[in-house]
């Protein structure tokens, strides 16, 4: 890891960059997971007295407006050159945290559905602006080599904290607590963003060397290309299927006991720790494997998780569900969340990172949530039984799992055809797989002393 190298050579400023990024993103993601997602439900149902269906519709509005704002904000950032300026991003972050502070304090004061809708739209504007600003900071602060591990750290920290705290959700108490947290952070952030500090200049200077993502080195990637849009669509599919399935799964009280909503401390600790382990695994795999393999890992885990849930629901739900269910679900969620943090900056350059992170996170995360919420609500309204609903979700998950390797294989065939591999006899198709064995037959056994290094 580059971080180890930096620590060994005592380069503290780049190390500080890691801390700023992980701290900001983990806190932002935690806020989104808890206050925005759980908070909306509590605020709408308990405080205002709306039905779950109405609250779900408002959440869908939140997702759609967030996507639109994120794309507009990303375009503005790229066009004005703000995407490649860390100082501008820090200043925008001050505005975002300030607005979030106001919204957090205002949340418990809401008493009407119209007020909640207004709060949600304001929240969407803040979140939408925050997506390109915060996700793109990876390009300024994190070397390409460490992006998998850093994304894992962000996902692990945010999920770990969210699974354990707050244990019993109530918007009033949590609002006060978050307001205090943000109130302390905001002046510090403002000082860093608006003050004249040499370490900020040094960090801002890193963008030139760190900014070009892993998948953009060598061949440039255009925004209007399959190289960018295929991952967007694949990630959209993952978020969509996941959300579609779990919006209905949490209806089953027996499954709720093995989820984030469980009242059992043991289950919550298990989920929190598994999130961290899952994120760490995802970080390692992200760094070690090519993009195709990473998607195969994610989809394989994901399809299998859905199969497990359906198998369990069809097989009878007597007693507490086995911990294998949340284990695989949490691993799958950690995997694709880690991927979501690292992938878009790695598909961008400093000039394009605003739009690409906005499109990636916006379409994969927010549009998928909007559409899946709408579909899950219509499925519920049509009276589709949970088992049937999950069968459809499973079918989609399996289709994705089979489709990705097949698509990758066919793309390779297409490339070979373009290169004219079919024109001549070409090399022995088995040669690539067998050189070691063939050589050994010729050379005979290798002596142990030759193998030593």
């Amino acid at each position: 890891m580059k971080l180890v190298e930096l620590l060994r050579t005592r380069q503290w400023v780049p190390v500080l960059g890691y801390l700023i990024y992980v701290g900001a993103l983990a806190a932002g993601y935690y806020y989104n997971l808890t206050f925005v997602q759980l908070g909306l439900v509590d605020l709408g149902t308990r405080v205002i007295g709306m039905s779950h269906r109405e609250v779900s519709s408002i959440m869908a509005v939140l997702a759609l407006v967030t996507l639109l704002v994120a794309v507009v904000a990303g375009m503005v950032m790229d066009r004005r050159g703000w995407s490649s300026s860390l100082r501008v991003k820090l200043r925008l972050m001050v505005a975002i945290v300030g607005a979030q502070l106001v919204l957090t304090v205002a949340a418990p004061l809401l008493t009407t559905a119209a007020g909640l809708l207004g709060w949600v739209i304001a929240c969407s504007v803040v979140l939408g602006t925050g997506i390109p600003v915060m996700f793109s900071m990876m390009g300024d602060l994190i070397p390409v080599r460490d992006r998998g591990a850093v994304a894992a750290a962000v996902a692990g920290c945010a999920f770990f904290a969210a699974a354990l705290f707050p244990f019993e959700w109530e918007i009033e108490g949590f609002s006060r607590l978050l307001a205090v947290g943000m109130g302390v952070t905001l002046p510090l952030l403002a000082l860093v963003a608006f003050g004249r500090f040499s370490f900020v200049d040094q960090l801002a200077g890193q963008t030139r060397t760190l900014g070009v993502g892993r998948f953009c080195r060598g061949t440039p990637v255009r925004t209007a290309s399959a190289t960018f849009w295929i991952p967007v669509l694949l990630m959209f599919a993952v978020f969509f299927i996941d959300s579609l399935g779990f919006l209905r799964i949490i209806e089953a009280p027996v499954l709720m006991d093995a989820s984030w909503q469980s009242t059992d401390v043991g289950v919550r600790v298990f989920i929190a720790v598994t999130h961290v382990v899952g994120a760490a695994m995802a970080g390692i795999l992200y760094t070690a494997f090519s993009r195709g393999w990473i998607f195969v890992w994610v989809f394989g885990l994901f399809a299998f998780t859905h199969l497990l849930y359906t198998f369990y629901l069809r097989g009878g739900t007597d007693g507490a569900p086995p911990l294998a269910l949340p284990l695989f679900y949490v691993l799958a969620v950690s995997f694709y969340t880690t991927l979501n943090f690292a992938l878009w900056p790695d598909l961008s350059t400093p000039e394009t990172i605003g739009v690409r992170t906005a499109l990636g996170v916006g379409i994969a995360g927010w549009l998928a949530s909007f559409l899946s919420t709408a579909l899950a609500l219509s499925s519920e309204g049509a009276g589709t039984p949970l088992a049937d609903h999950l069968t459809y979700v499973n079918a989609l998950a399996l289709l994705l799992f089979v489709g990705v390797p097949t698509g990758a294989y066919l793309a390779r065939v297409r490339r070979l055809l373009r290169e004219g591999a079919h024109d001549g006899p070409g090399p022995d198709p088995h040669a690539a797989a067998l050189p070691a064995a063939a050589q050994l037959r010729r050379r005979g056994p290798v002596r142990a002393d030759r193998l030593r290094r």
Binding site: M281, S290, G315, F328, A436
Partner: protein, 238 residues
């Protein structure tokens, strides 16, 4: 810990290696993992009494909502028998290792290189594969129809673990001052089996280390396509 007669305790109650005497009422589930739980004639457990190992004593008159769990029979430690089993297993693996080192040394070298150079990737892939494979096999077995496939899968999995142990032995053999590769590998395998056996004596940490070693080997077997290719992770700029 004691729940006295006439006292209500809000569950769930988790017993991990401790001793609990219940004479009152537990309003919820009781989970026993190792340790002991004694339910006297005046006790009531409103939820389920789940026990996985440990000692559960239910005096007639005690009441539980449901009783689930697994009785783990305490196996009396027989050092001579354990030693013999380890020796036989080590001998078989050592012979396989010697045969492999003679027949296909490059394959073993590829796997052991992956273990040595990329242990973190190996253990990650090994863990993920094992978790998934075990769950898939269990679910297959539950269908009854796929039981033969599950048993075949189990055999393949055990063979892969054996291959992993041999590869770890090959890696150890490379460090030994023995010239003949097959002898070095066989000796290395015996050392690895002895270490894995010895680690069993260390509670928790020993098992964890042994498991991590085997998972690293297993992941490396997968990463190298059973040793047919050298594993090279993506080259990262910056």
């Amino acid at each position: 810990m004691t729940v006295p007669k006439g006292v209500d305790v809000h569950g769930p109650l988790h017993v991990l290696g401790g001793d609990v005497l219940v004479s009152g009422a537990v309003d919820g589930d009781v989970l026993l993992v190792s340790g002991s739980v004694t339910l006297t004639e005046t006790s009531t457990v409103a939820g389920s009494m789940q026990h996985y190992g440990g000692k559960l004593t239910m005096v007639p008159g005690s009441s539980v909502g449901a009783l689930t769990g697994i009785d783990v029979a305490t196996v009396r430690s027989e050092p001579r028998k354990n030693l013999l089993t380890t020796a036989v297993m080590g001998g078989v693996l050592a012979l396989l290792g010697a045969w492999g080192a003679r027949r296909s040394p490059r394959a073993l070298t590829n796997v052991s290189d992956a273990v040595r150079e990329h242990p973190l990737i190996g253990v990650t892939v090994g863990t993920l594969l094992s978790l998934t494979a075990i769950s898939v096999l269990v679910f297959m077995a539950f269908t009854v129809l796929l039981l033969p496939v599950a048993l075949f899968g189990l055999a393949v999995g055990l063979a892969a673990v054996g291959y992993a142990a041999v590869a770890l032995g090959h890696l150890t053999g490379r460090l030994l001052p023995i010239r003949r590769p097959e002898v070095a590998t066989a000796a290395g395998v015996l050392i690895v089996v002895a270490i894995l056996g010895g680690l069993e004596a260390v509670p928790v940490a020993g098992d964890a280390i042994a498991l991590a070693l085997l998972l690293t080997g297993l992941g490396s077997v997968f990463l190298t396509y059973l040793g047919l290719r050298r594993f090279t992770p993506m080259v990262m700029p910056g």
